[in-house]
Every structure is written in C-alpha cells, then in structure tokens.
C-alpha cells in the first residue's frame, strides 16, 4: 500500500516530519517498506532569477543568461526555448550533483562562452521526464531558496498492510491509526450529498442477501468521460503506480485507495433490463475486464442483467458493460459482499484485483451509502451530469459490530505491560471503539471499519501497539540450572552420522525434497509416484522416493563444472507414500571418480562398491546399529548394478542398500564415470534401550599370546566370502577370535569356475599356551567346517 505525504495530510492534521511519521508507522504495526523522497537529491539546487537574456554570439539556438540567486550573479549558456528575462527557475551551481547524470556540474565553455551553472528542466533534477523547457516558478517565488522548499514535491511511502488491517488499505485508515497514536488529528471527511434529480430507472433485486447484505445503485446521466481528471488526482494515482485512464475509472480507483472502498461503474446504456444480484449458474460464461473468459459455478456472485452475469461482484467488472470514453449514462455500484464468498470465488477462478483484495479482508459495512455519495460528488464535479436517487437493497443497520471484553489486569499477566484500566480505555477510545466498564471488564465495541477484533487478545494487541512494544520488559525464561540433552536419540544419531560421514571425507549437501520424475522414475522401488499438483518447475514435480536422483544430478552438474571426483552425502526425508508420516529419514551418499588427486606417494583408484559398503556400515555404527557381522543379501533395488550391490539387513528390516548405480541409469543421465552409492534408512536402525547403563563390559585380558595362521581354500566362484568367514568362525567359537580374508585369486592355475580364498585366523589360548598339536587340531576343525559348509578344499 502506497501513499504520498500530501495525500496523508489530506486526512491527517499534523506537524510531524516524514521521519516521525515513518517511525510511528513501524511502531504501530504498519511496517514501512520503502520511502521515496526526491527532496533528498535536491538539497544543492536553489531558486534563481534570469536577470537578462542575450543571444549567443556563435550559436543560433543558445542564449547567454545572467542568473541571479540573490547573492551572486552567474553567466550561464542555455538552450531552452522558454528563457526570458524575469523567469524564476531552479538553478544548479557549479559542483551540484545532477541526478539525471549522477555527476557534479562543472564550469564549461560552450562555443567560446563560459557557462557557470545550469537552469534546470524537470528531468535534470530527477522529478520526471520533461526535458524541453526549463522549470518556471511563480513570479513571487523567493530567489536563493532551497528548491525542495518551493517545488511541490510529494514523498511516497510504501507500507506493508497485514491481512487484519484492511481499513489501512485506504489512506484514511492509515491517518486514523496515526492520529490514535498521537501524531495529529484526523480531519473530518467532507462528503456532500448530491441532490437527486430523478428516480433511478434501473430496478435492482438481490436474490442472495447473505452473500450481498447491502447493494446500492445510483444512476448518473449525461456524464462526459472524456473530461480531464484533475491534476491532483492524477498525481496521487501516478505516485502510487496507477495510470490515469478516464475520470470514471480514476474516481473508483482513487476512492479504493483513499477510503479502502471498492466501487463499480456500469455503462448504463449497455445494461439490458433490471439488475439482479444472484449466484451464478453452473457453466455460465463471463468475460471479465481482463479479457479472459471464465466458466462460473454457483459459488460465484454475479451482478446480472437480462443477458447474464455482467460483473463478478466484488472481484471484477465485465468487459461487455464497462465504461468507455463514449459512455454517457452510468450506474454506480457501491455494495457490501461477504468476504468468504469473494475469497472463494477469487481463489477458484484465480482472479486477483484490488477490489477482491479489500473485500476478502474487510470493507467497512457502513460505507456503502457514504461511498456512493463521495463517488457521485467526484464524478459530477469532473464529468458533469445529474444523479438519480440512491437505490439501497438491504440495510447497513443490520450490521452488528463485534464486541470484545478485556480484563484490565490481563495487560500485565498476558502482555507483561503495566497499563492502567483508564489508559487502556483511553487508547481503545482513540482507536474508535465504544468503550465502557462492565463487571470490572472493559467492554469494547468495534468501530465498523475494524473487522478483526474478536477476543480479549485482540484488544491487548491494540493497546500493546499503541503503548509500544519497547515498553514491555524482557524477562529471561526461567529454566533448570543444569540443562538436559535437547535432542532425542534419533535426532542425535542424525547429527553424529553427519559428522561421521564428513570425517570420512564426504561433503554434506542439502538438495530439494522434490525430484525430477524423469530421473526419479528409476528409484521408486515399487512405490507410487507422489506427484505435486502444482510443481514450481517440471524438474521438481515429485516428492523424492530416494535422495539418489538428486545426488546424481549433483554429480552430473559437478562433472560439468570440471570437478569429476566427489563424495557427497545428505541426511533428509524420503517419501514412500502421499500421506503424512509416510516418510523416513535417510542418510545417503555417493562417491564418484577417483579416491584422490594424482599424488607422488599413492596411486589413486576409482571408488568401488566396497567404499559404499564401508560408508553404509559407518553410518550404522554411528547410529549405534548392528554393524558387526552384518547380514548381507544381494537383492538390492533395480537401480543398482545387479552383481555389484547389496542389502544390509536386520531380520526382515532393511537397514541399508549399497552398490554401484546401474550403468543404464548413468547412461540415461549422461554420466560417464562409475558412481557408487549407499542409502541407510535411519528409522529402521533399532535404538539402544534407554535403560541400558553406561558402564562398559569388563575387559578380560588373556595372559597367553594369540597365534596367527593362514589357510587358503579353493571354492566355487559363487561361494560368498561371508559363508567362508562364518564357517571358519563357527569351527571353534571359543578359540577362533578373528577371521580375515587377505587374498582372493581367480586364475588359470585353478580349475574353471573356481577361486582361491586365503584367510588369516587368530587363535586365542584361554587356559594355557597352545601346543603344536592344539594348533593343528584347530586348523583341522576349520578345514573340515569350511569344507562342509562351502565345499572348499585346502589349496
């Protein structure tokens, strides 16, 4: 909402400066967004008189002036056509910053004549675009005065109006609030009733009084819509960014911004028959002023003649029956519409207008007749014509103002503010409330322009904003001396996981919760696509079924930027269904390219599936999950490489997937390097029992040295490493404390379909040092067990 200072002063009698006004607006909840004050750039310009004009000796169109600022005289070369002796204008001396060029004026020699200053045109001082002539001020203007003081310059203020303060969508509402805050007095609004010269010939019927409680119509005949809108009105409208169109349109726009009072004007000669206000028929068509055709339903309120809906009540007029410059007779509408009806229609048809904006918030229900009177007065004063009597359907008197009660002590116990009951009542009275005391409660009846006061808290807010929020003391929240952990175990896990992955050299990223269906389609893993109804761009059209589509997009973008090696992870939501709660927290990551940059000491290698597996296990460990002896299966989702991927399980539950991304998907994304990935479902990792103590298990240290022995087995290629490790461990769980695989060999020296797996075993004596025989027995147990479980033979 914008207004100019002079416009505000039309309603507010005040001596306050612009700065004081803006500070007060902020303090009372009308946030100042921008102040445009051209006076600031004018401070070096002064008024001056042209004492003499002579022709330039060497140029036809130039003149040499003697300019007098009351103190000094200056020789100035000027090309403006309107120079004349005695003209008083705006003068820029040497060194003045000229807003148009954003440069300081220098002394110059123009065709051999020295020029020491400039008589300015409007554009040169930054107040408009007029350039041909220099500014001419009235003859009685003092010379040597600051330009800002004599030019009629109007600063523009833009305030942001919250939805509850609809009355401040009119300048008068803002003035009223400033007056209540003690910044002046509100001037009376002088509306003169135009005498009725004839009876309104158009019959008006309202069929839906609940949506349209009051409708007024006035016929004005013989208007001239080609008349010129007065300059003051045009200037104000221009200043707030509204173009002057015709007097009839300008008047409705002006009153909309002056009094927050929407109006509509029909070309009465185009209306056929009587006017009926009714709900639209389903399927009824309507072409609005914006030249778009809408199909209406029975939720929309229509102002109709015999030919159908001609205006969407309170939202937008129709194209067919609107005013043009040829309009002679008009019907002026000033009505009250139910906010819910306007909001619903506007939302469903997606029409935004200044009128809708006001009606769906609040329009003063007692402003229908006065609004019509004011508009009639302005229209006739500009366009001439004669007014009919006013047809009023419904009555403003049915409006019941809202009543709220305030217990005076609540100012202290709710707002923390010391305000006496008397002071509270005085403030409410200044704001226009009818105030009285009832059983020690302040009864406040809302003024008709306020539709937002429903309960005690609303009254408290009114008093708080008038007293000032700065008057409320700041009191720290009382709290226990020793703080407790703020995060739940699950939330804490997520934090630890991030730090674990970062300590493994990965960069954490945050990507959209949305994904691009083009990529996401590969990652749905059997779930439905959760498509947004109104995606902002087509690449963000689905709730992500996995973080990987977004990480792969990141891979692609980083490669394109020239950074082909990366390790990225994200911890965030993944969606399995469209209903609330059908989501879980995933920790997912990708590695792509080489393990490190080229280096003299180490050979870099490509990331492989085992890097992803290690990441996944590190995440599980960080979340205190079962990372030791993980249960691994090979049935990862289809977006992984079928032979190079795995699932980490705990019983039925999937804790994690890891593997190479399927080459076909990389191809579809045009990623040429191998990408390995992992996804851990944090919701599936069991949390430790809360009752578990902090004490560690007692450390049992053996006095006997462990013995390391190596064995190599030849097995079928299909035999998993896990099977061999498990068989070896189970051979003697008491004495075999560790089994590691240290070599895998597949080569021509072995029968086809076979591989050799070499394991290193740690035997731990318990009661006494092993004899050679003991060790031999243990090795034999392993050989037998591995043979039995895997068919492996000693190599």
């Amino acid at each position: 909402m914008k207004f100019t200072l002079s416009w505000l002063k039309e309603h507010l009698d005040t001596t306050a400066t612009l700065e004081e006004i803006c500070d007060t607006l902020n303090n009372i909840g009308l946030e100042v967004e921008e102040v445009t004050d051209p006076r600031a750039g004018l401070k070096d310009f002064i008024t001056a008189r042209i004492d003499s004009v002579e022709n330039h000796p060497d140029a036809d169109k130039l003149h040499v002036l003697c300019v007098n600022d009351g103190t000094n005289k200056y020789q100035v070369v000027c090309g403006a056509p309107n120079v004349r002796e005695g003209l008083i204008g705006i003068f820029a001396r040497e060194g003045t910053l000229i807003p148009l060029f954003n440069e300081r004026l220098k002394r110059a020699t123009i065709r051999g004549v020295e020029s020491c200053g400039m008589m300015c045109a409007v554009d040169e001082i930054g107040l408009g675009t007029a350039h041909d002539a220099i500014i001419e001020l009235p003859a009685d203007t003092p010379i040597g005065a600051p330009a800002a003081d004599v030019l009629n310059i109007d600063p523009v203020v833009e305030v942001s109006i919250t939805p509850n303060r609809a009355e401040c969508l009119g300048v008068r509402g803002i003035a009223r609030d400033l007056a209540a805050a003690g910044l002046g007095t509100l001037k009376p609004l002088n509306i003169t009733k135009t005498p009725a010269k004839f009876a309104n010939p158009i019959k008006i019927t309202v069929e839906c009084a609940s949506e349209c409680p009051v409708y007024t119509g006035r016929y004005i005949k013989s208007v001239n819509n080609r008349a010129e809108t007065p300059k003051w009105m045009k200037d104000r409208l221009n200043a707030i960014g509204i173009h002057s169109i015709s007097p009839l349109v300008d008047v409705t726009n002006y009153i909309n911004y002056d009094l927050a009072r929407p109006l509509h004007v029909f070309d009465a000669d185009k209306l056929k028959g009587a006017l009926t206000i009714r709900m639209a028929h389903n399927g009824e068509k309507f072409t609005a002023l914006n030249e778009k055709e809408y199909e209406l339903s029975d939720f929309a309120l229509g102002i109709c003649d015999e030919e159908g809906v001609q205006c969407l009540g309170g939202i937008m007029g129709g194209l067919k029956k609107g005013c043009t410059e040829n309009t002679v007779n008009v019907l002026l509408e000033c009505a009250l519409f139910k906010p819910e009806c306007i909001a619903k229609t506007g939302r469903r048809l997606q029409i935004d207008s200044d009128s809708r904006y006001r009606y769906e918030r609040w329009v003063d229900p007692k402003s229908n007749i006065s609004g019509s009177d004011y508009a009639t007065q302005l229209i006739i004063s500009i366009c001439g014509g004669e007014a009919s009597d006013l047809t009023v359907v419904g009555t403003e008197d049915n409006y019941q103002p809202q009543v709220a009660y305030l217990r005076p002590e609540r100012m202290k116990t709710f707002a923390g503010l010391d305000v006496s009951a008397e002071k509270s009542m005085e403030i409410l009275r200044h704001l226009g409330f009818e105030v009285s005391l009832e059983n020690n409660k302040i009864k406040a009846v809302s003024p008709s322009w306020r539709g937002d006061i429903e309960c005690e808290q609303d009254l408290i807010e009114e008093i708080v904003r008038m007293v000032g929020t700065d008057k409320i003391p700041a009191v720290s929240l009382p709290h226990d001396n020793l703080p407790k952990p703020i995060l739940t175990p699950m939330q804490h896990n997520a934090v630890v996981i991030k730090h674990e992955l970062a300590s493994r050299g990965m960069y954490e990223t945050v990507t959209w919760s949305f994904a691009d269906s083009e990529i996401a389609q590969y990652f749905r893993n059997g779930n439905e696509a959760i498509l947004l109804q109104n995606p902002i761009v087509k690449e963000l059209n689905e709730m992500r079924p996995s973080i990987l589509p977004n990480l792969l997009t990141a891979v692609k973008n980083n490669i394109a930027r020239g950074y082909p090696n990366m390790a990225l992870f994200e911890v965030g939501p993944v969606f399995t269904g469209r209903h609330p709660q059908e989501q879980y927290t995933a920790a997912s990551g990708i590695r792509c390219g080489q393990t490190s940059a080229k280096d003299w000491a180490h050979t870099a290698r490509d990331y492989d599936v085992y890097d992803a597996k290690a990441d996944a296990l590190a995440v599980i460990a960080a979340a205190k999950g079962p990372y030791e002896n993980p249960q691994i299966t090979t049935d990862a989702p289809s977006y992984y490489h079928p032979g190079r991927s795995g699932v980490i399980r705990l019983g039925k539950n999937v804790l994690a997937y890891f593997g190479e991304i399927h080459p076909a998907i990389l191809k579809a994304l045009d990623i040429k390097s191998r990408v390995v990935a992992f996804e851990v479902n944090l919701n599936n990792i069991p949390l430790p029992r809360q009752t578990a103590g902090k004490a560690r298990k007692k450390l049992e240290l053996s006095p006997f040295q462990p013995v390391d022995k190596d064995l190599a087995f030849v097995v079928d290629k299909s035999v998993s490493a896990a099977a061999i490790i498990s068989a070896a461990k189970n051979a003697d769980r008491e004495h075999i404390t560790d089994v590691r695989i240290f070599d895998i060999y597949e080569g021509i020296t072995l029968p086809s379909g076979k591989k050799s797996v070499a394991i290193s075993l740690t035997f731990q004596p318990i009661e006494q040092t092993f004899t050679d025989k003991d060790i031999e027995n243990l090795m034999n147990k392993v050989i037998v067990e591995v043979g039995k479980k895997t068919g492996g033979e000693l190599r």
Binding site: E461, V464, S476, L477, G505, T509, F514, N534
Partner: protein
C-alpha cells in the same frame, strides 16, 4: 719376553688401522681366537715352572685386556662410521608435499541446526518433529487460518492430491508444509503444558527468485505454561539472538505485526550496519528483520486441545537458511541447494566443528583443510 711387547704393539697397530668390522674380527680371531697367537702363548704357560708361570701369565693378561679394549673401541668406532654412512645414503626430500587427504564438510544448514539446538537446549527446550506432507488441518485450519482466510492465499502452497483415484480437490488435498507451525499442533495433541519445544525442518513454498527458494528451513518455537507473557517472549528471543550471533550486546527492535496463529503478533529486528560490501550484525544504523513471533492465539490452543483460560504462551518462527546467511556472510540463498562442491568446501564446516554453549558455538573444530 721381548716378543710379547712386540706382539702387543704390532696387534694394537693393526687394530687401530683396521677399516672395516670384518678386518677387525679377523685380527681378534688371529690373536684371541682358539688358535690365536695370544691364546697359544697362554696355553704354553702350563708347562712352565710356577714362578715363571706367574710372572709371565700376569704380563700376558695385561696384554690380552689391552687388546680386548682396543678391539672394543675400534669396533664402536667402525660401527658408528658404518651407521653414519648408511644414514647418509638414506636421505629423503622432506619438502615433498604430504599426500592429499579430503576433509569432509558439514552443510551450513546442519551447522545452524546444531547451534540453535545448543542454545535452546540451554533454556530447557526439546526438539519436536512433524511430517513434511501435512493435512490442511495441521498446516492451516488449526492455526487459525480457515479456508477463506486471506493469509492462506498469501502462502504459495504446494498441493498433493490426497487420493489419486479421484479428481484433485483443493480443499481436501494435502499440502507440502508451508511452515513448521503445524508441529505446534502435533505437539499439543500429544502433551499438555508445560510445553517448551523447538521444531526445525524443511518448509516449502512455491516461490523461486533471488531471495526465495521452493524449499527452505525454519525453526519454530512454542512455550506454553500458566504464566508465560510477552515479557518472556522478548527475554527468550533476545537471549537467543545474543547467544547465536555470539555478541554480548545486540540491539533489537520489536514491531507489532500480524500472524493468524498469534495475538498479539510481533516481528523482531536486529541492529546491523549495512554497507555496499558487507553486512555487520550488531550496533549500526540499520535494522534487519529476523523473526516473527507472538502470544499463541486462543483458537490455536483450543485446536491443540489446550484450555486457553488456563494456559498461555508464545510461539516464534525464523529461517534457518537466513540465520546462516546472516551469521556466516553467505550471499545467495539459492546456492545452498546447488551441491556445488566448491561452495560446499568453502561454506561448509569441518567434521570436528561441534556446537556447544560451553565449548564454543562455532569455529571450534580447527582450521578447514
């Protein structure tokens, strides 16, 4: 026994001139070995008469120990020499750079999450959560925003058809939460006061320009008890801002505002100094809006199943991404979500950077590598 003295001189001379350990050992064997010269001379003593045996034997023993001492000394000398020569050959170029190690990074959004939790943890808050896909009751209606409420139109909401079998119906559709405020309702549904929670998470609005992204992060606060007033709201938030920006003194300003779910509603500004090149939080001539807050509207308490005649309290909401931008001088919101490894490395935090009110809130994890 002249030849004993001669032998001694000769042997000592040889020992001192020996150049390598092997040569020294050969000398030892030749003199002191089983068949060495001195050994032989010792052996021959047996056949001599006692007096002669004693005098001659004494002389032999003196010579023997002199030779042994000389061998030991020369051995030590030669070993040292050999080691020095070996070390000389082992010299490495220690100016070679160390192998590259990638130090990971924590995203600024996670960092702020940890900092905010650390501060509110100190004030006795808990962290609550809610779903990203919400029903309109929790996202709007329960927050005093009925279906035709104008504030509801101001939020550019993403919708999700709640039943793909049926045509889309805007009034029953799910939304992707436009704020974390729905967590207020979900918390109240689960517990009666006293309530002291913050909720942090992703929020979504259909807006994409220099200062808006379709997804951003919010932290929501809710404090409900019997005697909580606006004064506590001011105290709590001022305490938070000072702790967060790690400033002992931070000017703040409160402006009345409007949110459907609070009454009275207030916006909080913090002092700053704006120049063309930087933004400095703290004392200065300008104000920067950082959060919205207010006393919880009685309709919201009722919707959450709490009696507004008995309980009252405040709520607040602020942008996590915005806090990160202000504290750490990150210029463009959009870059938060672009996964550019150069950006992540530059603006990210080291894995050792944990946030704590007692160990330091930021930059306590050493230098980024």
């Amino acid at each position: 026994m002249e030849n004993l003295e001669e032998l001694k001189d000769e042997v000592l001379d040889k020992i001192n001139n020996s150049a390598i350990l092997k040569e020294l050992d050969d000398i030892r064997v030749a003199v002191l070995g089983k068949k060495g010269k001195l050994t032989e001379m010792m052996k021959s003593l047996g056949s001599l008469p006692l007096e002669e045996k004693i005098s001659l034997g004494k002389g032999l023993n003196i010579v023997k120990s002199k030779i042994e001492e000389a061998i030991e000394a020369q051995k030590k000398f030669l070993e040292e020499k050999a080691l020095n020569e070996k070390l000389k050959s082992e010299t490495l170029d220690v100016t070679l750079p160390v192998s590259p190690e990638t130090q990971g990074r924590i995203h600024p959004v996670s960092k702020i999450y940890e900092e905010v939790a650390a501060i509110f943890g100190q004030m006795g808050f808990e962290v609550a959560e809610g779903p990203d896909i919400e029903d309109q009751f929790h996202n709007f209606n329960a927050l005093n925003m009925p279906v035709n409420h104008p504030a509801r139109q101001m939020q550019d909401t993403f919708y999700l058809n709640n039943n793909p079998e049926k045509p889309f119906d805007m009034e029953t559709a799910y939304v992707i939460r436009t704020h974390t405020s729905g967590v207020q309702i979900r918390t109240m549904e689960k517990q009666q006061p006293p309530i002291r929670i913050i909720a942090m998470g992703r929020t979504y609005r259909s807006d994409y320009d220099a200062t808006h992204t379709p997804m951003f992060h919010q932290v929501e606060g809710l404090v409900i008890d019997k005697n909580i007033t606006l004064a506590h709201l001011k105290g709590c938030l001022h305490d938070f801002m000072k702790a967060f920006f790690e400033l002992d003194d931070l000017p703040v300003r409160y402006r009345p505002s409007y949110f459907p779910f609070t009454e009275p509603s207030i916006e909080m500004d913090i002092g700053c100094l704006k120049s063309k090149t930087e933004l400095k939080i703290g004392a200065g001539n300008d104000w920067l809006e950082v959060l919205g807050c207010g006393m919880v509207h009685p309709n919201v308490l009722r919707a959450g199943g709490i009696n507004p005649d008995e309980y009252q309290g405040f709520a607040f909401g602020m942008g996590i991404d915005r806090l990160a931008m202000l504290k750490y001088g990150i210029p463009d919101l959009r870059t938060f979500f672009e996964s550019d490894v150069r950006w992540l490395k530059h603006y990210g935090f080291t894995p050792l950077d944990f946030s704590s009110m007692t160990d330091g809130l930021s930059n306590n994890g050493g230098l980024a590598r």
